[in-house]
């Protein structure tokens, strides 16, 4: 089976401190639970995979889209939702959504329906400075589902959102996964296997990631 994402000799350091050193990791399509202790490098790993921070080595999506050689195509295929999203205070949810739709593409109608289901449409016209942490989290999740991604990286998606939104999120992940979208999810809370059939668990430890 062709790997959705392949990491080759990926190394990441903060000054002299080495955070990641992954010789090779190839993941076929599926839903993956990325585990690791605090400070193990889960978020760094996700940011590297999303192409948000510089790193050494190469990441290939779908066997042919390179993070370094085709950065635009790469970013179109990978979406990332931060654990604690932060946006400029004056922007509204709509500003951000329009920006994502304009750059990542995707079906506007579908995204609007998604927003409705997550319960974010009511406050989309307001500046994000007026959002609670839960509202901000829902907005970042909606943005992560915008476009036509191949892989969605969700950093601690279960925190701060309410039960209703959580059920919608599980439902979305299942539906997108059935359509061939892969997920990599970090969570300190155990993922409910009945709600989310995890294909594999990734463990970040000793600067490496291993499929366990």
């Amino acid at each position: 089976m062709e790997a959705v994402i392949a990491l080759h000799n990926v190394r990441k350091s903060y000054q002299d401190f080495h955070v990641l050193d992954i010789a090779r990791l190839e993941l076929p399509a599926g839903i993956y639970w990325l585990q690791g202790e605090n400070g193990a490098g889960k978020t760094t790993c996700m940011k590297v995979m999303a192409g948000l921070i510089p790193f050494k080595g190469e990441i290939i999506l779908q066997g042919n889209v390179s993070s370094h050689r085709q950065p635009v195509a790469f970013r179109r295929l990978i979406n990332y939702a931060e654990a604690e999203p932060l946006y400029p205070s004056f922007l509204t949810g709509r500003d951000l959504l329009e920006l994502y739709l304009g750059t990542k593409g995707g079906n506007r109608q579908q995204v609007m329906e998604l927003g409705e289901r997550l319960g974010v449409t009511g406050y989309m016209q307001n500046p994000v400075s007026t959002y609670s942490s839960g509202m901000l989290k829902k907005l970042s999740l909606l943005l992560a589902f915008t476009g036509n991604p191949l892989l969605i990286l969700l950093d601690e998606p279960l925190i701060t959102i309410d039960k209703q939104a959580l059920a919608v999120l599980y439902d979305l992940i299942r539906a997108y996964s059935a359509n061939g979208v892969s997920f990599c999810i970090t969570s300190h809370q155990p993922l409910d296997q009945r709600e989310l059939p995890v294909s594999g668990t990734l463990r970040v430890a000793a600067k490496n990631i291993a499929l366990v």
């Binding site: 970013r75 400029p88 004056f90 329009e98 016209q125 400075s129």
Partner: protein, 372 residues
């Protein structure tokens, strides 16, 4: 309620006077420091009679008081929005409406007091001279200035998401327009750091005023003199560049995740700095600068701004090191300008900035000082 009033006075009134100490010092100097002590009373009496007896002068004074009133109302509303002051919503929201209105009035009159005192004396002085109508106008104006903002405060309490009195307009605009990424930094400056951009633009206005004054004094226009003024304006924009980098680092990480080519990021950067320098160019044009000199000056300034901003993509470049490079480049550019090679200087700086940007931007990451 006495304790509540005392605490609110501390939160609003005392903080207002402390935060505006410099403003009041300047005002105090202008009102009481420019004349000798012996003629102070007659000076102010004449001033009061002057505006009470002349409608246009009075309108000007009322406009200044209105500005001060807006400053007061803006301060109270901003306090509500300041992080750490969220407790004001549930606490003040629990007070009965009549009592809360009294509290609003105490807070507002507390910070509007300087105008009330001066206006009160002016009305008394005016009435002794028979300026009844002007006295009535001043009294009504100040009553409105005291009571109208109370409705804004009440509204703010129930609608925390509304900013100042532009809330409705803001929501109306938000529904119709989407903010362009190239303008994010301007929104940030005007909403969160208005003083910073205002001080830079005032400094630049001062530099250009002095430039044109000196050019006139030395008997004729010299493009090199104007370019020197333009270069000083560019250097004055240095602190905005640091602000820009901090803003990018803190909030705009998500833009990097968007599928956009590098040249679009560079164009956005160029757009920001061209727009930022537009007021200076308008000021130069308003002073009847010949088109060729204006173009040369704009191109040189844009090239310098882009190069200086691109230097900040070296992660370890802090404000001090950046200023050294800015001064070094400006020094070399100065001699090129004096020799009439400003276009050459610009044509070197633009590719240099683009080269730095295209090389550094994909590798850029916020530098965190290692703990010693």
């Amino acid at each position: 309620m006495g304790n509540v009033t005392a605490i609110l006075q501390k939160i609003f009134v005392r903080r207002f006077y402390i935060q505006n100490t410099l403003f009041f010092l300047v005002l105090f100097y202008l009102l009481f420091g420019v004349v000798d002590g012996g003629s102070l009373i007659s000076y102010h009496r004449s001033l009061m009679l002057g505006f009470m007896g002349n409608l246009y002068f009075l309108l000007l004074v009322l406009a200044l008081w209105a500005l001060y009133g807006m400053k007061c109302a803006g301060f109270v509303l901003k306090t509500f929005q300041t992080q750490g002051f969220e407790f004001l919503y549930p606490t003040l929201g629990s007070v009965e409406k009549p009592a809360r209105r009294r509290l609003w009035l105490l807070i507002h009159t507390g910070i509007y007091m300087p105008v009330l005192v001066y206006a009160g004396i002016a009305v008394a002085v005016g009435i002794t001279r028979g300026f009844w109508l002007a006295g009535l106008l001043v009294a009504v104006f100040n009553l409105l200035a005291c009571f109208l903002p109370l409705a804004l405060y009440e509204r703010k309490l129930h609608r925390p998401d509304v900013t100042f009195f532009t809330g409705y307009l803001q929501r109306w605009l938000n529904r119709r327009f989407v903010k362009l990424p190239g303008l994010y930094f301007f929104y940030e400056l005007f909403t969160n750091y208005p003083r910073r951009i205002l001080s830079v633009k005032l400094a630049c206005a001062g530099i250009l005023w002095l430039t044109f004054y000196l050019l006139r004094q030395t008997g004729g226009f010299d493009a090199r003199g104007l370019m020197l003024g333009g270069m000083l304006c560019v250097i004055a924009h240095g602190q905005l560049m640091m602000q820009h980098r901090a803003f990018d680092d803190t909030y705009l990480g998500f833009l990097r995740g968007l599928p956009q080519p590098l040249w679009r990021h560079y164009l956005r950067l160029a757009g920001i700095y061209l727009l930022l320098f537009l007021p200076e160019i308008v000021m130069m044009a308003a002073n009847k600068t010949p088109l060729s000199s204006l173009t040369g000056c704009f191109v040189l300034a844009a090239a310098m701004l882009l190069l200086f901003r691109s230097l900040l993509y070296f992660p370890k470049m802090n404000a001090e090191v950046h200023m050294r490079y800015v001064l070094l480049v400006s020094f070399v550019t100065l001699f090129m300008v004096l020799a009439g090679y400003e276009w050459l200087a610009a044509s070197v700086m633009v590719p240099a900035s683009a080269g730095l940007f295209f090389f550094l931007f994909p590798r850029y990451e916020t530098y965190v000082e290692p703990r010693s």
